[in-house]
């Protein structure tokens, strides 16, 4: 009797197909892991290379690199104290303005404006994040600086203060977006509980909602600070380059990042090493601030 042609694969064929796909599976795992690890290695090379090119200057100047305030391009001496101070001061000014305004804006978006305009308003605020930093610099130099002179009737001009204000505007979208997200996940029960106890809206927000979102808001502040510390181009354009110890926030200055950007083009070999040392300091500062931010936002989303 005749059998219908057997369309099923013979056991050996099936085994072969399985082993072939198992091979492709192994290859796939190897490739994805390989690419990811190669990229990880590139990151290690990145850290190593900055450390390596900063090494001569670190060895020569030792701790004076951190405690001396004189940084002169063209074969030294190199001391980053002024630059570190200016970096911290500009960031502090930026946070001073951006934190209250950012949290206020987040609360306004969530609780004050009508619900249907919420998405539109948030995405408009976030558009600020899409503006490149060089455009902030240009706007700061021409428009903001001019406005400043008109309002205060004096030549404030390019200064640490102006840099801090421009930074405040640049970190505002980060501040608003993240504090809005962490405030939005505060359980609604808390809000309703406070209302039912007769608390007014302001009291509910300041005593119940914001304290419950505390960790997340701290995370938002840390992220914003990380951005302000490392911002380069806009700061370099509006800070009014000066390497002397700042005697007031209305004098010029230079941050770690702006120094690298301004002087890299004319640097000698030794200068390059000193600038790499600045880069290393910046890397350590921003990496630790960002790690802190990561820890805080993790903790906030876990609780």
């Amino acid at each position: 009797m005749s059998l219908a042609p057997n369309k099923e694969a013979s056991p050996s064929e099936v085994a072969e197909r399985i082993s072939r796909s198992a091979t492709s599976d192994r290859a796939y795992t190897l490739i994805t892991r390989g690419v990811a690890l190669v990229f990880g290695a590139v990151l290690l090379v990145f850290v190593w290379s900055v450390l390596n090119s900063a090494w001569p200057v670190i060895k020569q100047y030792n701790y004076h690199l951190l405690t001396s305030s004189v940084f002169s391009v063209g074969n030294g001496p190199y001391g980053a104290l002024t630059l570190i101070l200016d970096t911290l001061i500009t960031t502090a000014i930026a946070l001073f303005f951006a934190v209250p305004i950012g949290i206020g804006t987040a609360l306004a978006i969530l609780y004050v404006i009508p619900e249907r305009s919420r998405t539109v308003v948030s995405s408009v605020v976030e558009l600020l994040a899409a503006v490149p930093s060089v455009v902030y610099g240009l706007w700061g130099v021409v428009v903001f600086n001019g406005l400043f002179k008109n309002i205060f009737h004096q030549t404030v001009g390019l200064s640490i203060f102006l840099a801090g204000l421009v930074l405040a505007i640049m970190i505002l979208p980060t501040m608003v977006a993240i504090s809005r997200d962490v405030i939005a996940v505060v359980p609604r029960d808390l809000l309703e509980g406070a209302y039912s106890l007769g608390a007014t809206r302001s009291r509910t927000l300041t005593r119940v909602i914001v304290p419950s979102a505390r960790t997340g808001i701290l995370g938002a502040i840390a992220l914003a600070a990380g951005r302000a510390l490392g911002e380069t181009i806009a700061v370099a354009m509006v800070i009014g380059f000066s390497t002397y110890l700042p005697h007031s926030i209305f004098s010029g200055g230079a941050t770690l990042a702006s120094m690298i950007a301004t002087k890299f083009g004319e640097a000698t070999t030794e200068d390059l090493s000193a600038l790499a040392a600045l880069a290393l300091m910046l890397m350590v500062i921003t990496a630790s601030v960002n790690a802190g931010a990561r820890y805080l936002t993790r903790k906030a989303s876990a609780s």
């Binding site: 305004i101 600020l128 930093s133 240009l138 809206r201 890299f264 910046l282 990561r294």
Partner: protein, 313 residues
Amino acid sequence: MTDLLYNLPPDPILERRAAIQRLAAQSLRRRQSFSRGFEFAMAIALIISLIPLVSILYSLISKGWRYLSIPFISGLPPKGYAVLSSIGGIRNAVIGTVVIVGLAAIVAIPVGITTAIYLSESNGRVANTLRAAVEIMTGMPSILLGVFAAEIIVTRMNHQYSGIAGSFALSILIVPVIAKSSELALRGVPQTLREAGLALGARPSKVTRGIILPAALPGIITGTLLSLARAMGETAPVLLVTGYGSGILNLNPLGTMISMPLQIYKWNQFPDPTTSSQEESAVWGVALILVLFIMVLSIGSRLVAARMRRERR
């Protein structure tokens, strides 16, 4: 009978209750007006955060409008006007930007997405370390990557200042951004889809390629386009390594190149020679065109993703 009620002496308890009610009403009014004041202050904060955006867009449009023309975009600067001038155009910078970002994208997109696939499917110690590294890299100041690129490509490999060195810096800058957003998108695909695929006998690699990746594609595309928008506006890493003075159109990424952000930054040092007014300088034209490029990418990313999601349904 009723007269009798009216002539009763006043009830001290009722009086006290009335007094308390008065006090309570007063306090409520005070607290409510304070609350209204607080809400007003928050609305003011919102308005304050909108002012800079309005001002930036207004100055870009009002000052850059007249440069928004085909001859300005496609023209070349005359000889001797290396960085920026209102005579001629900015074709060298537009092409420089597109080439530098394009080359960075060619490397960064596959690496970023592959890294994301690895991260989304593994939870070992290596993967967790890499994930933390990727996340910290997304907040790393971009100038550091310029320092890195200068050290590797210009100092060690002894290559000249070039467009490709800028692409190198930008690609390392955006791989973490792409990896992080794509990992989120991949992890957002319901676990049941993966299980269904595996239950049908598909190999893990097939499940990822055939099911998980397509499902996560809208999110991946959004993240990728946004990272390209960011790369396009970056100045710091490019500034250190591409070499700028060239007003000559250069298509070869191995040579020096200028990009639009670089042109804007350099305007501070070498102002537009054709006008002494800060307000009329061609720099505003470059800034407007750059922001338009970036807006098209970032709004486009959202539209593409939204459209893909709608078609699926």
